[in-house]
């Protein structure tokens, strides 16, 4: 669209530029803050490297669980009319509006030793509070809605009649899903998975309550900032930002901005 110079268009550009600057400015400032030497030091900081590995492993586990449990739910929500479908869809999206420390407290009550479920799982060797599974639980809680939402939209974009055609050509329901719907919805689901992974990496609020130790990167950065100040926190923050940028680029590659193609 071509915008002619007018008070209206000038206002539009000005407001848009302000927001872009507000978002990009701090991130750029942070990147410029880190010198190559400090980044090198960060990568030889054992505690930081271990924390980043822990973050990557737990975020990947949470994303895998989100996909494993969320894709079937998304398919049901997109394709199968069942009683209470809207309620189920609403429940799954609740974590988006729940403040993350509140989510942490809720998870603590639900999975902690004082709850029947926590006790039962603990007896089976699955401890959440101050254990790695607690990190995965916190990440899963906040990232699952992203996967479900993305997968549901991806399934909705695939005409259900394609599966019906495949069934008449001899496919079982599962084969038709695997051969037709999944490849067509795959790009959207993977994009949702990558976003969920990024959301997991950035999670702080629920994990700090559920599993302060071992420390994921976001908690380690907070820890260093409160204990040693800004200079100690910056290199770790930059490393985490670089990871986030890499994920962002991946998402952009997987799901190009449709607005640019109009």
């Amino acid at each position: 669209m071509h915008l002619r110079t007018s008070p209206w268009s000038v206002t539009l550009w000005l407001l848009a530029a302000l927001l872009v600057l507000f978002v990009a400015g701090p991130l750029l400032r942070l990147l410029l803050q880190a010198s190559p030497a400090s980044l090198g030091a960060a990568f030889s900081d054992r505690e930081l490297v271990a924390s980043i590995w822990l973050t990557i492993v737990t975020a990947t586990s949470a994303t895998a669980l989100s996909l494993f449990l969320g894709v079937p739910l998304a398919y049901l929500l997109a394709r199968v009319p069942f009683p209470g479908r809207r309620i189920v869809a609403g429940i799954v999206e609740l974590p988006v509006v729940v403040p993350h420390p509140v989510a942490g407290i809720a998870l603590l009550l639900f999975l902690g030793r004082q709850s029947a479920i926590g006790k039962g799982l603990g007896a089976m060797g699955l401890e959440f509070v101050n254990h790695v599974p607690g990190i995965v639980a916190g990440m899963l809680f906040v990232s699952a809605p992203i996967v479900v939402s993305a997968a549901r939209e991806a399934f909705r974009s695939v005409d259900p009649k394609l599966e019906r055609v495949a069934r008449t050509l001899g496919d079982t329901g599962w084969t038709a899903f695997r051969q037709v719907t999944l490849p067509l919805a795959g790009r959207g689901i993977v994009a949702g998975g990558v976003l969920a992974w990024a959301r997991s990496v950035s999670e702080f609020g629920s994990i700090v309550i559920l599993t302060y130790n071992p420390k994921v990167a976001s908690i380690l950065i907070y820890d260093r900032f409160t204990l040693f100040g800004l200079p100690a926190a910056v290199p770790a923050a930059v490393v985490l930002l670089l990871i986030a940028l890499a994920v962002f680029a991946t998402v952009q590659l997987l799901a190009p901005d449709r607005a640019e193609h109009r």
Binding site: V165, L169, G170, L184
Partner: protein
């Protein structure tokens, strides 16, 4: 063979009810009906995509009412083709043969692609193909596993008239060559006349009439059927018995038909009827004879004056729309005859029709 016995299907608020229909082995059946009459739902119920709440579906003498779609082994072509967008044309056609030996699959794909003029397209993706090409691919894909039953959902709806004519011819050839029992959904009665052995007219989830296309066309059992299939003119009026016996009565002495008068909006027609009272008169366009002067027609019982309101010239036949005392009629005459008679809007004509050619319902 396709046989439906008192089938009932519910999809949301829509209900298909009491559907009974039979298409013999190797036969070509057509379901015609307006949009929203349940045609596609009926095909999907036969294919196993929509569960039946009552009735039975029998395919090839086997009750498949509870069978899964893949177990029914029917070919299905949707109106919008629904080609798999992530596969090439060749992969689309060969989709149902994925478990066959590669050589067998390749041979069958080539054979179908060749007969439908798709060979150059095989390596291409399906995006950007014309409606006719997509339709042929969808047809080839459905035929590839050699189904003995083929279900077609408005296969010609989304193509231009020229392509439609070609596709119709190709479909008839394929049907005869492969000997497939076919059931096609259409809203075009011309498909039924050109392709069908059996036709069922569907209205609001029920079969309004079924039979051979010719019998449905000649003897529609309701004003809805007559108007929907474009039989021609449908007049609403009253049937009154008259004393004298008609040629039909004389040839059908044991029947209950009698000579009668049909009165509609000032028009009085001699007809042969089975009952008195309110009725519809169905007049096929080809049965109306037109002349500019009072010439002797071969034994017509009815003659009346009319004015031409519009002439639609086709390549061979012209549809001549008439006004006879406020009654709208349509006649079909050869285009050359229309020209010879100088038929045009506002031209007065004399209309003649045999009493036996008027179908009273």
């Amino acid at each position: 063979m396709i046989r439906l016995e008192a089938v009932r299907v519910r999809v949301g608020d829509f209900v298909l009810e009491d559907i009974s229909l039979a298409v013999p082995s190797g036969g070509y059946g057509l379901i015609i009906g307006p949009t929203g009459s349940g045609k596609t739902t009926l095909l999907e119920a036969i294919a196993g995509h929509e569960p039946l709440s009552e009735g039975r579906v029998i395919l090839r003498d086997t009750d498949v009412t509870r069978a899964s779609p893949e177990a029914r082994r029917v070919g299905f072509v949707y109106q919008q083709y629904h080609l798999f967008p992530h596969l090439t044309v060749g992969e689309n056609i060969g989709y149902g043969l994925r478990h066959a030996a590669p050589a067998v699959r390749a041979e069958r794909v080539s054979e179908l692609a060749d007969s439908l003029g798709l060979l150059p397209l095989l390596p291409r993706t399906v995006r950007g193909l014309s409606g006719g090409e997509q339709q042929r691919i969808a047809l080839a894909r459905a035929l590839a596993p050699r189904p003995t039953i083929l279900l077609l959902d408005e296969p010609f709806a989304a193509v231009d008239p020229a392509t439609r004519r070609v596709l119709r011819r190709e479909l008839r050839t394929l049907h005869e060559r492969e000997g497939i029992t076919t059931l096609q959904v259409t809203h075009d009665f011309e498909d039924a006349m050109r392709l069908g052995d059996v036709v069922a007219v569907l209205a609001a989830g029920r079969i309004a009439q079924s039979g051979t296309p010719d019998s449905v066309f000649r003897y529609p059992n309701s004003a809805f059927v007559a108007e929907f299939i474009g039989t021609g003119t449908v007049l609403r009026g009253i049937v009154e018995r008259i004393g004298e016996s008609s040629p039909a009565e004389r040839s059908d002495p044991g029947g209950n038909r009698f000579a009668a008068r049909f009165l509609s909006n000032g028009l009085e027609l001699e007809v042969v009827a089975e009952r008195e009272g309110a009725a519809y008169a169905v007049i096929r366009p080809a049965d109306l004879l037109l002349s500019r002067t009072a010439m002797p027609f071969p034994a017509p019982r009815n003659r009346f004056d009319a004015v031409v309101t519009r002439v639609e010239r086709g390549s061979a036949v012209a549809a001549v729309h008439l006004d006879a005392g406020g009654n709208a009629l349509v006649a079909a005459v050869m285009t050359t005859t229309a020209e010879e008679l100088g038929l045009a809007s506002g031209v007065p004509v004399i209309v003649a029709i045999k009493a036996t050619a008027i179908h009273i319902i």
